[in-house]
């Protein structure tokens, strides 16, 4: 069954597109386009879940796909755009690592993830493709958190990591129990809200959301 689902060409295409969307975030210096890329990524993720649901015939995965679509592809990007608009942040991202090195590091991370998944024996060769993509998402998300100065990008990075985990979970288990998934969605939503509030507070205290300024807080 799993070969059928993940082996299908359409699935591989979508997973590749997810990786491309990640590179869109890595390669962009505009906040809006980052958020848009994240929305696209979440939409693609929802369609992965939809395909899995279709081929396994389990109705609860449809619900998960729907929730992904609503929360990750619509609500969270909306919250991002709201924050960006409200605190009138400069639309450009300040970087620690420039765009071209970022892209190269992203590529290296994907290669590392691919080898990593190959070296731990996963049952089928085919679902390992999804798994290595999910590993790449996690590590690239972490890398985005490190290399970008704006607090919003840290938030985006952790959401990319979460997407990676979602992909990993769905590729390994064909969807966790509905209750667990619902819990995770709730967590993500609340997390985003809290992080949003924190960004407002940081903005109020430091007059900008550059996390570099937090250095002044050490004792």
């Amino acid at each position: 069954m799993s070969e059928l689902v993940f082996g299908s060409k359409i699935m591989q295409l979508i997973i590749a597109l997810i990786l491309v969307s990640t590179f869109m975030i890595l390669g962009s210096t505009r906040l809006y386009s980052c958020v848009r890329a994240f929305g696209i990524q979440s939409f693609l993720l929802a369609s992965v879940a939809g395909i899995v649901a279709y081929s396994t015939g389990r109705y609860e995965i449809y619900i998960i796909a729907l929730l992904t679509l609503v929360i990750k592809a619509a609500v969270i990007p909306y919250i991002f755009i709201y924050i960006i608009r409200e605190i009138k942040v400069k639309r450009e991202i300040d970087l620690y690592v420039n765009i071209s090195p970022s892209l190269i590091i992203g590529g290296v991370l994907i290669v590392i993830s691919y080898y990593l998944i190959r070296s731990i024996n996963i049952r089928t060769e085919l679902s390992s493709f999804a798994l290595s993509a999910s590993m790449s998402l996690v590590s690239i998300g972490l890398f985005i958190m490190i290399s970008r100065k704006k607090a919003i990008m840290q938030m985006l990075g952790i959401l990319i990591m979460e997407n990676g985990l979602f992909l990993g979970a769905i590729s390994l288990t064909h969807g966790m129990p509905l209750l667990v998934e619902l819990g995770i969605f709730f967590d993500v939503l609340i997390g985003v809200l809290i992080m949003g509030i924190l960004i407002f507070r940081i903005n109020k205290t430091f007059e900008c959301i550059d996390t570099d300024m937090l250095k002044t807080l050490i004792g």
Partner: protein
């Protein structure tokens, strides 16, 4: 079945106490009543439960069971004995606290105090009933942390915060060693259950057993206050509210004694000779140094805290003598040593709680802890004075009160070491007897000072002049324990057989040849006997005889009120009085090598050297352990931390990068086939 109800009743009562004090937070008086009355009700449950276990069956109650860990309660006679001890002290102290809490009305949050107080006691009960190492560590930590919050209850004072810091550092060092010790035991026996520990612990390799012994000694020794690890006691006990210090000193440090007995006798089996000798040396050192430093203290609560070190030493002398006997095969003598240790444990819990409550009453009415500022309080607070006197006599080990009985038993246990074959050990145990004798004498001197300076003579400062007796509940609390001091002292022959049955399963035998008439003769082997009962009766008879004679023969004599004779000088002010510093001067000179006293006199002259404007005198005893043992270690830790601080950059990106780098290294490790 009825045990379960009792245990649940006990736990629920403490929880009700905790909850109600939070709910009634706003109303000080009501809140204090609710918190402390429910604590005393819970302690009654505890007393009934423990007595029924001591005279009945071992009791287990499982909360959840799995193949790996069984969370639950395990109450055998030893646990029950400690529940009893905790509950008795809690009963008296809780009733005392109803009055004592008035000290904080309007100044501090009573709900917070009541909440912590109830949870603290509950955690102590759980510590002595936990049935596996994991549960034990959780409740042990709970006890440590809650008691830390109680120590820093008056956190607006900087010295209290310092005391709390020292306490929490020391207690966590101890917990670290406890965890090590339990992990070794668990790996040796294959389970975290205490029952498995005790059934398979003795079969472990000797090296592992030695490690378990050493780690447990350090870990629990830090909580009990054995000498090099005692430094937190003189800070933490004075800093806490007096009712809490009564419990901390009277009861909490006994939980460490409980676990030491558990580990040494139950988990590790018979053990080897050097364990007992090591504990004996440390115990003798604790007893002697504790009382020596107590003599130099003028802060009444610090003085009592040092006496806790001393008494823990005396308790451990009994236990260590028992360990020596067990490892040499004299189980009957070992039972005797353990009885001595347990008897002193309960005695210390009773009289030390009493003395701390007495000190609390003094602070309640005079608002000072310095004995040099007190004086003349016996006339103003007669009942407190009486109760404090009873406690002082007990702790000084004077017959016929309880301290005497247990120290006498400890001496007997030490003297019985002449049965041992090894001469060196024999001499070591007997010289620890000499140390104990010196300790008792110094303790008596110390309490002559403590009682005499604070209660007798004239008031030494304005603080004392308006002192009044505290509320009735405080007197009731102290009175209960005073009565218990007398009962435990005069009727030891009722209690020794009970302790005998508690000690029996731990050493493997009971003392068979015991004669318990009105005297304390224990062994037909080499019998020494003394009867505190008769002493008490004689005391009554001979004290009242002169009065009866005077009344019968002498008739009325005229009374004349006159000043005290002051060697020809008129005694008019308190400045002529003997001070605590002066009282302890001979001992300070005699033991100068240990104290290394440091004196500084500063005179400011007003123009010419004939006119002295101000004279300040400052005398200090050098804190040897802090200066030569802890300060170098603390300095090392601080300098290492300063180096490590480089990685704390304050930048989120750097912290994330640490995670990222770790992740990549782990990836590389997996890819290279390391996994």
């Amino acid at each position: 079945m009825e045990y379960t109800y009792l245990l649940i009743g006990l736990i629920i009562s403490y929880l009700i106490g905790a909850a109600s004090s939070i709910i009634l937070n706003k109303k000080d008086h009501l809140c204090a009543c609710a918190a402390f009355i429910s604590a005393s009700i819970a302690s009654v449950f505890g007393i009934i439960l423990s007595l029924s276990v001591v005279f009945g069956e071992t009791f287990t109650f499982t909360l959840s069971s799995s193949s790996f860990l069984n969370f639950g309660f395990f109450v055998d006679r030893l646990s029950a004995f400690f529940i009893l001890l905790i509950s008795i002290a809690v009963f008296a102290v809780s009733i005392y606290s109803i009055g004592y809490a008035k000290e904080y009305f309007g100044k501090k949050n009573i709900g917070y105090l009541g909440f912590l107080y109830n949870i603290f006691i509950l955690s102590m009960i759980l510590v002595v009933t936990a049935n596996n190492a994991v549960m034990f560590l959780i409740v042990w930590e709970l006890m440590s942390v809650i008691s830390y919050f109680l120590v820093v209850y008056e956190h607006e004072k900087p010295e209290v915060r310092k005391a709390g810091f020292i306490y929490i550092v020391m207690t966590h060092i101890g917990t670290g060693f406890i965890i090590l010790s339990f992990l070794i035991l668990a790996s040796g026996s294959g389970s975290f259950d205490f029952e498995t520990f005790s059934s398979t612990g003795a079969a472990m390799p000797q090296m592992l057993k030695d490690l378990v012994f050493l780690f447990a000694l350090i870990g629990f020794g830090a909580k009990a206050g054995i000498v090099p690890l005692h430094i937190w006691l003189p800070y933490a006990h004075p800093a806490a509210p007096s009712n809490v210090s009564a419990l901390m000193s009277g009861v909490m440090i006994k939980t460490a004694i409980y676990m030491l007995i558990r580990v040494f006798f139950d988990f590790l089996g018979a053990g080897v000779l050097w364990w007992g000798v090591l504990v004996l040396i440390l115990a003798s050192a604790s007893a002697l140094l504790g009382v020596m430093y107590a003599l130099m203290e003028h802060d009444i609560k610090r003085l009592l805290a040092y006496h806790s070190v001393e008494n823990i030493g005396i308790i451990l002398i009994g236990i260590s003598v028992s360990m020596i006997f067990v490892s040499s095969g004299y189980t009957e003598l070992a039972a005797f040593g353990l009885i001595a240790g347990l008897y002193h444990t309960v005695n210390h819990a009773v009289f030390k709680s009493l003395l701390f409550m007495g000190a609390g009453s003094l602070i309640y009415s005079t608002h000072t802890r310095n004995m040099e500022d007190m004086g003349g309080l016996l006339k103003k607070m007669p009942w407190t004075g009486l109760f404090f006197l009873v406690g002082s006599i007990s702790i000084s080990a004077l017959p016929p009160l309880n301290g005497f009985v247990s120290e006498w038993l400890t001496f007997q246990a030490q003297l019985l070491s002449i049965n041992l074959s090894d001469n060196i050990i024999k001499i070591a145990v007997l010289s620890s007897g000499a140390a104990l004798a010196l300790t008792s004498a110094l303790a008596a001197a110390c309490f002559v000072k403590a009682f005499g300076i604070s209660f007798l003579a004239l008031p030494r400062s304005k603080a004392v002049e308006h002192a009044k007796e505290g509320p009735k509940s405080m007197l009731f609390g102290m009175g209960t324990l005073s009565l218990l001091c007398i009962i435990l002292g005069v009727l030891p022959f009722y209690f020794v057989p009970v302790l005998n049955s508690i000690a029996a399963p731990l050493v493997g035998t009971t003392i068979s040849k015991v004669t318990f008439d009105l005297s304390l003769a224990v062994f037909s082997l080499r019998s020494e006997s003394i009867s505190t009962m008769w002493l008490f009766l004689m005391l009554f008879i001979f004290l009242s005889l002169p009065f009866i004679l005077a009344l019968a023969v002498g008739g009325r004599t005229p009374t004349k009120t006159y000043d005290t004779w002051g060697c020809g000088q008129p005694v008019t002010t308190a400045r002529n009085e003997y001070t605590a510093t002066a009282f302890s001067k001979p001992i300070r000179m005699w033991l100068g090598n240990i104290y290394r006293p440091h004196r500084e006199i500063q005179i400011t002259y007003a123009g010419s050297p004939y006119f002295k404007e101000r004279l300040t005198f400052d005398a200090q005893v050098e804190p040897i352990f802090e200066k030569y043992m802890y300060e170098p270690v603390a300095g090392l830790v601080v300098s290492v931390s300063r180096i490590l601080r480089v990685i704390q950059t304050g930048s989120i990106h750097a912290y994330l990068a640490y995670i990222f780098i770790t992740l990549i290294i782990l990836f590389a490790f997996v890819i290279s086939g390391g996994g």
